[in-house]
């Protein structure tokens, strides 16, 4: 089926304004009659729940954490982009739009990206009004810094904790609505099913993670703000609780999953140190402003880094990309690091690391300047590795970080299932095949504060009120399905733990579906994943029962979903016979190892429809049209 994103037509500058006028409204007095279920309370979820509650809708908000303030948006470090052009350096809505489309390697919908760039400025204003303490200059004006993939300074920041401050701003707006009674909060709950009536999304089934109770919540629309799926690799920069589950149950109920193979591998993370490891820690991209990446030129050069003379070092990014050097974009820098390590010249345990060396910058500027710029990152590095980055080069390696793919949505952020809206990282909409730094925060808040309040009204005005009742057969069927799966998980009583299965899947995904993919590795993954899945359902051990706090049971449900999702991920990567952004197929590269896009055959988004766990999914295409940006080869030489 050919999908239609329903982008408005006409000059792109006025698409959103025109569309806002064309959409239907809900009368202020009628809003309280509609109930909206918002799942997830990160930047997208908290801002959506707060804004919808403020408009007068009756909102219920759900999160698996003990407080909405702990959603993983909190961990974003660098900043948030906006086209304010405060530095007078040539920025504009059009330039932010252009950089984002190009940065995404021309695999996103133009109109959605334009709207994102247009509302970016409102986000900054809104956050300032909430008391977000953005960095200011000595005259009291908002300060900006530069980020990858742009030639202007458009990134607003709050020290190295921008995500935290923006989330606390959204959380405070949400808290205000909770006090006013427009939003009811359900922390420590996890969505385990989506309930449809006559094909429309009208309810969810959740597990209360404290009591174990399985129950329905019904409403007039469901808004998923449930984040990304990078934990399919087990080790990633994500929070341990982050999963694909809410998106996956929606997919199994008929929502399309778009471009799952577009995953961002961030180049600068602290390398893995052992099999027990639970987490890979990101070190901000900004470090590459002053740090130089290198590996020894000779194989098996085991000398300490300080004893390796200049002529025996390979500053591979500067060698390969002289004009961008160490600030090459994320996808390029990650692949280059892997290339050196695959060549046997990696450093540290297992040879899976490269040096990020500040010696030159310290020599030029002094240690104090470097400390002022990056002190908190050096501290964080030392806490984890016990090494002093000022004295010896840091060791870094790429790690899974962000999901550009997600549930397919139209211009109104509604999935193909009427009534099911998907916001933030959980949808596929604006980042194409690669996301630029400081754009994730922008998208989460754009969707929640400035898009969904308009577009949801358009749907609500056309649907019937209260279509699903709590005692409806659809609700009962969903509860018994969820209970049956939990009983099945608990009754396996095998030998292996959830963590062992997650590690096995993660390792297969990383090796075969990670930074470099080929037909052979992908075919092997598609063969092996069902075998791990079968083992899981035969040999899993979960202690305890379902009627209490049971963290092993929670994890088992998430890993069970990853074991199904992983196969779709690999199938999407196999079908896309081109390299673009975060998706690199070794068969499709130029002579010097750069990604080779195939616009003739793959200039579309692939949205997959579910046909059964062991069935091949059905692919639907949404062709991408570029009328405002010319398709071009990304070069960073």
């Amino acid at each position: 089926m050919i999908l239609d994103g329903k982008s408005p037509t006409g000059p792109i500058e006025s698409t959103w304004d025109k569309h806002r006028f064309d959409m239907k409204l809900v009368n202020p007095a009628n809003k309280r009659k509609y109930k909206i279920l918002v799942v997830g309370t990160g930047l997208a979820g908290a801002s959506a729940a707060a804004s919808l509650g403020e408009l007068g809708y009756n909102v219920e908000a759900f999160c698996y954490q003990d407080s909405p303030r702990r959603a993983h948006s909190i961990a974003a470090q660098g900043g948030i982009n906006a086209a304010k052009n405060y530095p007078n350096d040539g920025d504009s809505i059009r330039r932010l739009f252009y950089d984002t489309v190009k940065g995404g390697d021309f695999r996103a919908r133009e109109a959605d990206v334009w709207r994102l760039a247009q509302v970016s400025n409102n986000i900054i204003d809104q956050c300032v009004a909430q008391g977000v303490p953005f960095a200011r200059d000595y005259a009291g004006y908002l300060d900006n810094r530069s980020f990858g993939g742009a030639q202007v300074s458009r990134t607003f920041y709050a020290r190295g904790q921008t995500g935290q401050q923006l989330l606390l701003g959204a959380y405070s707006a949400l808290s205000r609505q909770i006090k006013l009674g427009t939003v009811k909060l359900f922390p420590r709950t996890e969505m385990l099913d989506l309930v449809l009536v006559e094909g429309e999304a009208k309810g969810i089934t959740i597990r209360d993670l404290v009591t174990g109770e399985i129950r329905n919540h019904v409403g007039d629309a469901v808004v998923l703000c449930t984040g990304g799926y990078a934990n399919v690799f087990d080790l990633s920069t994500m929070a341990r609780g982050a999963s694909v589950s809410a998106n996956w149950v929606a997919y199994k109920k008929g929502a399309y999953f778009a471009n799952p193979c577009y995953t961002q591998i961030h180049p600068t993370c602290i390398p893995q140190s052992g099999d027990y490891q639970s987490k890979l820690t990101l070190m901000s991209e900004s470090l590459r402003n002053d740090g130089r990446c290198w590996v020894p030129k000779k194989h098996g050069d085991n000398r300490p880094p300080g004893e390796i003379p200049e002529e025996d070092r390979d500053y591979y990014l500067e060698r390969k990309y002289p004009s961008f050097g160490n600030l090459a974009p994320r996808d390029i820098a990650s692949r280059a690091a892997k290339e050196q390590c695959d060549d046997g010249r990696g450093v540290g345990p297992g040879g899976r690391g490269v040096y990020l060396d500040f010696a030159d910058a310290i020599g030029r500027l002094g240690e104090d300047v470097i400390r002022e710029r990056y002190g908190n990152l050096f501290e964080m590095y030392e806490l984890i590795t016990a090494e002093n980055g000022y004295k010896v080069p840091m060791r870094i390696y790429p790690a899974p970080h962000y999901a550009m793919g997600g549930l397919w949505v139209d211009y109104n952020l509604m999935s193909n299932l009427p009534g099911l809206f998907v916001l933030g990282e959980a949808n596929f909409s604006v980042h194409g095949a690669n996301r630029l730094g400081a754009s994730a925060l922008m998208q989460g808040l754009a969707d929640g504060y400035f898009v969904i309040p308009y577009t949801i009204a358009h749907y609500l005005a056309q649907t019937s009120l209260g279509m699903l009742k709590e005692d409806a057969p659809e609700c009962k069927a969903s509860v018994s399905e969820v209970n049956a799966r939990i009983d099945r998980l608990l009754s396996i009583k095998g030998e292996r733990t959830v963590a062992e299965f997650h590690r096995e899947l993660g390792s297969l995904m990383w090796n075969n579906v990670g930074m470099a993919r080929s037909e052979a590795t992908l075919t092997e993954a598609i063969e092996k994943i069902p075998a791990i899945r079968a083992q899981f359902w035969e040999n899993l051990r979960i202690p305890g029962n379902g009627a209490e706090i049971n963290q092993q049971l929670e994890n088992a449900g998430r890993v069970a979903d990853f074991l199904e999702f992983a196969e779709l991920f690999a199938r999407d990567a196999l079908h896309r016979k081109e390299s673009c952004g975060g998706h690199f197929r070794v068969e499709y590269q130029t002579e010097d190892g750069e990604a080779m896009r195939d616009d003739e055959n793959f200039c579309y988004s692939a949205a997959w429809g579910y046909r059964g766990v062991d069935q091949e999914p059905e692919m639907h295409k949404e062709p991408l049209k570029f009328e405002n940006v010319e398709l071009a080869v990304r070069s960073y030489k």
């Binding site: 909190i74 900054i124 204003d125 200011r136 027990y276 092993q552």
Partner: protein, 255 residues
């Protein structure tokens, strides 16, 4: 030197608080953590112990955790009597086992405070902190109504001061460390952040009254200047924000 340390691994004796539920009596149980290296984080050490417990057919230790990089504020354990283990500016998830040595005995307990009932083992209910924020920890800025971000200038000094306060991760270590189970540092940080900014000044009086009332209703104690909160805070939030809280409260009385 034991055989362990020659192989670079440690064995540790853990004495851990186990409690079935909020109304059940708790008790200490002893476990061995084996094969631990200096690179394990404290939570990864507990992961290893839990894997062993599951293999032995026993129930793993329940503990709260999520981001594992020191920013979400979920992890919450009292280690050898100190919230987050006592290392300066460090959450449990950032604490690494190189701070311990082979053969050490480690006591692990949940946050203990009247306002934080134990849910299970090391997991407590910190909903009271959300209630304090819901009482007034915000500006009443409507979505879409904000003026340009540069229309009201804020001195760098005020912005930096507000950011110092805003770094709070809401973990509750300050409450756990306080002999009175007070949340004055937590509340003071939010009141100070917003009082220091022009956007927050308008509602300052109402905010401080409302948040302090919520604090009392939730069962938090009062400050008697022990400053244990600052010592335990993984973000190093300064007790000067408690002084600011008191000042804002006095100002609210006068108006």
């Amino acid at each position: 030197m034991s055989a362990n340390s020659e192989h670079g691994t440690m064995t540790l004796k853990l004495i851990v608080w186990r409690q079935k539920g909020p109304n059940e009596p708790g008790r200490f149980e002893t476990y061995l953590a084996k094969g631990i290296t200096e690179h394990h984080s404290f939570l990864e050490m507990l992961d290893v112990v839990n894997q062993d417990l599951i293999k032995e057919g026993k129930e793993p230790i329940v503990f709260d955790h999520d981001c594992r990089e020191g920013i979400c504020g979920t992890c919450s354990q009292v280690i050898n009597g100190l919230p987050h283990g006592g290392q300066v500016r460090t959450t449990v998830c950032q604490l690494h086992m190189r701070k311990f040595k082979d053969g050490d005995t480690i006591y692990i307990e949940p946050w203990k405070a009247k306002a934080f009932p134990v849910l299970k083992d090391l997991m407590v209910d910190r909903g009271a902190l959300d209630k304090v924020i819901q009482a007034g920890g915000y500006t009443s800025a409507r979505t879409g109504a904000a003026p340009d971000g540069n229309s009201i200038l804020i001195s760098k000094e005020s912005a930096d001061y507000a950011m110092d306060a805003a770094e709070c991760i809401g973990c509750g270590a300050c409450v756990a460390a306080c002999p009175n189970g007070a949340a004055m540092l937590f509340t003071g940080a939010k009141v100070s952040q917003l009082a220091a900014l022009p956007q927050g000044k308008v509602e300052a009086a109402e905010r401080v009254n409302s948040m302090l009332n919520a604090m009392k209703e939730c069962g938090f104690g009062n400050c008697t200047n022990h400053f244990e909160c600052q010592a335990a805070c993984p973000k190093g939030i300064d007790v000067k924000f408690i002084a600011r809280l008191n000042r804002e409260y006095l100002k609210a009385l006068v108006f």
